[in-house]
């Protein structure tokens, strides 16, 4: 495997000027009405743009109790400790047919195995198909992060071709730093935001099928959280667990899942972490 040669965060820095030019050109081509709208989107992202990552119940419980976020390598190491298998075997089991692509992508970058992934979020419940709890970092976390970059879309699906090979030119032109994330968001989703109400901008920018990927390194702990969000529909699913449990119509395993949700909610409350349930 080739030695790591690329610094993702440096590449993002190098792309700042080009990204701003791209945004200016895009904006210049808009009508006055749309210029006002795109300026509103830029302001919104600048003010409310946060790094978020979605977790499921057990992941959030572990995060709150251990105080540590685990990326795939750290999770595989923990799994290996639990099962007794080798870390690489654990990674292969977890990643299956995606193992090669994951390894190839991370190996291209300096510190790639330390990457944590999230999304740019301006007020929704994030990528809920992967996890019903959306952990939103404080603005101070991204402001002070030494290594944080945003990519226009999913790194593995959209920038790795069979081989696996990196589409490096595309990657280089689609990266943004924290200070320029609003220009990336506006050029990516501007056209779609014109057609919808402002309240829908957050879910246009970030949902399970389309998002701006955030890559960051360093620790991510419960004290870095601004809040945790859940969609109303996901919370309704949890309350339906309670309803069915009261009716004795669930299996024992499902009742334990319901009890697990209560434990996580209790932990959030005891940790003074705000839970916000959103229509998103």
């Amino acid at each position: 495997m080739a030695a790591a040669a690329l610094n993702l965060f440096e590449l993002a820095k190098q792309n700042e000027g080009r990204l701003k030019q791209q945004f200016d050109a895009y904006r210049d081509g808009l009508s006055d009405e749309r210029k006002a709208s795109i300026d509103g989107l830029v302001d919104e992202v600048r003010a409310k743009g946060r790094v978020s990552t979605n977790m499921r119940r057990t992941g959030l419980a572990a995060f709150l109790s251990s105080g540590k976020h685990l990326n795939i390598y750290e999770f595989a190491a923990a799994e290996a400790g639990r099962t007794g298998e080798a870390i690489d075997a654990s990674l292969r089991r977890l990643l299956g047919k995606y193992y090669e692509r994951r390894m190839a992508y991370d190996a291209l970058f300096v510190g790639g195995k330390g990457f944590r992934y999230g999304a740019l979020n301006i007020g929704c419940a994030g990528t809920t198909r992967y996890g019903d709890f959306c952990l939103v970092a404080k603005s101070a976390y991204s402001d002070s992060a030494l290594e944080l970059a945003y990519l226009k879309s999913d790194s593995l699906n959209d920038y790795m071709s069979p081989g696996p090979m990196l589409n490096e030119p595309a990657l280089r032109s689609d990266l943004a730093t924290e200070s320029h994330r609003q220009f990336l968001a506006a050029t990516k989703e501007g056209d779609r935001t014109f057609a919808v109400a402002r309240e829908e901008w957050p879910s246009i920018l970030c949902d399970s099928s389309s998002y701006i990927e955030a890559t960051f390194t360093g620790q991510f702990t419960p004290s870095d959280l601004q809040e945790v969000r859940m969609s109303t529909s996901d919370y309704a699913r949890v309350t339906s667990l309670v309803f069915e449990a009261a009716r004795d119509s669930l299996s024992e395993e499902e009742v334990k899942v319901a009890a697990g949700y209560a434990e996580v909610l209790d932990s959030l409350r005891r940790s003074s972490i705000k839970l916000e349930v959103l229509d998103a």
Partner: protein, 207 residues
């Protein structure tokens, strides 16, 4: 044929392919919990969100759910907490609209079906949950339904003589209703129901 392509065993979540369509299934395992999604989503789940890649076929939903429950149980605690212990925490963090929906379901599904145990368990949990009884609208809904339950139980499940007997501690049997209103309200309700709505004599052998 059904195929699990990605699984989070400790949470009971799985991406399932059915006739080329990718679905996400999560507890509670019911048709209404199935969510249509995409192959890309199942790939992303494995690549970045801790799902385990899997390639396992099932002939029907029953065997698939049995497998999911089996995987769930591998890492669960042995004991099951009573619903009354954990329900208030979940209901306490629920937004008002979901609390109101839950109450509406109790009123539409449980009380008419005389599922008193479930209805009372949920109403008591609702009463214990943070914020519910501080909201006048929700408080009234809870109290009205407790009355409905008390009335229904009296009509269908409890004997008139036993309940209207002097000295019977009805306030103790219906503490929520008794504490929310005046302690004699339950007794008056019992007497009223017994007087007006008696359908047959409980405990009296038919001629």
């Amino acid at each position: 044929m059904l195929k699990i392509v990605a699984i989070a065993p400790e949470d009971g979540w799985a991406f399932v392919v059915r006739n080329g369509e990718t679905l996400l299934i999560r507890p509670p395992y019911a048709q209404s919990s199935l969510m249509a999604t995409s192959e890309e989503a199942s790939e992303g789940a494995v690549q970045k969100y801790g799902f385990e890649a899997l390639d396992k076929d099932f002939s029907d939903w029953g065997s698939l759910l049995e497998y999911l429950r089996g995987r769930l149980s591998e890492r669960q605690k042995k004991e099951v907490a009573p619903v009354s212990e954990f329900a208030p925490e979940i209901l306490g963090s629920a937004p008002k609209e979901l609390k109101a929906k839950m109450l509406a379901r109790i009123g539409k599904e449980l009380i008419p079906n005389r599922e008193w145990k479930a209805a009372l368990l949920l109403l008591r949990s609702m009463q214990k949950s943070r914020g519910t009884m501080d909201d006048p609208e929700l408080r009234n809904m809870v109290l009205d339904m407790l009355e409905d339950c008390a009335e229904g139980m009296l009509r269908w499940d409890l004997g008139r003589r036993k309940l209207t007997q002097e000295g019977q501690d009805l306030a103790n049997q219906f503490p929520i209703l008794a504490s929310a209103q005046d302690p004699n309200a339950v007794k008056r309700l019992a007497e009223d129901v017994a007087e007006k709505h008696q359908v047959f004599n409980v405990g009296v052998r038919a001629a």
